[in-house]
Amino acid sequence: MVAPMTPYERAIATLNNEPVDEYAAYPLVCGLQRRLLPGTVTYKQWATDSNLCAQSYIEGFNKWKFPFTVTLEDLSVTAHDLGANVRMDKENTPFVDGHIIHDMEDYDKIQAPDVTQGRTGHLIRMNHKVVEGLKDKSFVIAFLEGPLLTLSQSAGAERLFMDMFTDPAPVHRALEQTTKMCCDAVDKIAEAGVQGMCWDYLWGNYTVLGDKEYAEFEGDKYAKATNEATRRNGLGLGIHNCADMPHLDTQINKFGVDVYSLAYYPLAEASPNMTKVIEDGYADKCTIFGNIDPQMFMRNTYEQVYETTMNLCQEAKTALCKRGLNTHFCVSSGCEVPPDLECHIDNVTAVMDAVHKFGAGQ
């Protein structure tokens, strides 16, 4: 029996595989938290006002006492700053609807921008304010698209994948620039005082790229640089990959991460669930975040989410026990909790309630 811990103590113990009073839990609630702010804050306001955005994370902590806080906005931040057109509807996650690569020459026009401006600058300022509010209360992990995702968002994934195969040299030159942008960003984000940096390396997915392709276009050089920049800044290294077939060996074993957040797709045969990931030894090396289906928050009841969380805690406990681990596990959602107006905020509470009841650690 472990004495009650503060959320922050729980996060640190989790990362160090030490006994915890209960498992850490952090559903990836991001834009949803705008609904905790006074008045009516639209998604667009939340995504463009660093004060509002930061305050929503602080309100999320106040309500749910999250051990971890992952400051994800959306996946169009870096592409927007590279010149892609981003559509910002009033109540929808912003997304790229105008790419910047129209012919091969366009790859050479990509230049790493000043990351203190634009939406990356907004993200940096938001992280400063979140840390001001949550220092020593919650373990704050910043979130940013990795070099290849930044480029695919800017170029269009289909176009990029074809160009990677038919004419890779300009793609590599563009990746040099997106990597520089990511490294510049982590240097600035670190100044905010965050304790970890989580990269979205989405394309490390066997549905999309094999080992050879992933190594060439992200793993061996570009992610290596961003991972090193993260370490150089004294930050914990995290990866989020909500793909159905993530490159676990590369992204966990080779990259040497501290935190790995993954999704589970029960309908995809090869998608690894939490039990398998732990039993295969990946939690020996890092803390695994996962993996309640994000759609449950939208479409299921409090009771259903509560029961799913209870089952996840029990399955993880068995799997961790088999590996002789204390924790290295955080109940999470595998991907962002839908920020929709119709999403049930009480279902986040259901996760936390179930973890309080059934998440007593080893």
């Binding site: 559509r87 109540e91 929808n92 997304f95 609807d97 289909e158 195969f165 038919t166």
Partner: protein, 211 residues
Amino acid sequence: MSKEEIFEELANAVINCKADLSKAAAEKVLAEGINPVDAINEGLVKGMNVIGDKYAAHQIYLPQVLVAAHAMYAGLDLLLPAIPKEDLADAKKAATAVVEGDVHDIGKNIVKTMLTAGGYIVNDLGKDVAPSKIAETVKGEGIDILCLSTLMTPTMDNMKNTIDLLKEQGTRGNCTVTIGGPPTSPSFAEEIGADHRDNNAQDCVNWLKGQ
């Protein structure tokens, strides 16, 4: 050069991801007066099926599939217009679309490719397509199969809105509706009144062929 050799050229052009060779072989088909339907089925589709099998076996990955599909379309663009209308009378018509509010179309494009390789006549409506436009197309063109896709949660309701419009205009019964995309599930398909939800394009086409 025999008909079979030209078909082999078409298949190999797709397998080797060579759009220029696919186009050149398709030109030979037309110059020799060979039935374009035979050339599509025995050449381009055969090649695309090899690609599909290799992808399923993780011998190749998405970039190669996309480039192979590009090669297939280079040949198809020449051969499809050459098919006599009466030969297409029995072919099923399909429409593909990413629903309004979403522009992520890579999955939809793979479905389009696999449907084409499966012998369907595909009208790709593109991305960010309004339910009313989809419904109008289904009605106006007598679409037999409608494949809807979205990657994002907030736009899932536009799948339901589309199906509701099909019901309103009385075309739902004549049209099989499939959906796809990471946030969707079989239970969501059932909830909104779709016929099917699948994980990948090839399985979806196989399901459709079994109907």
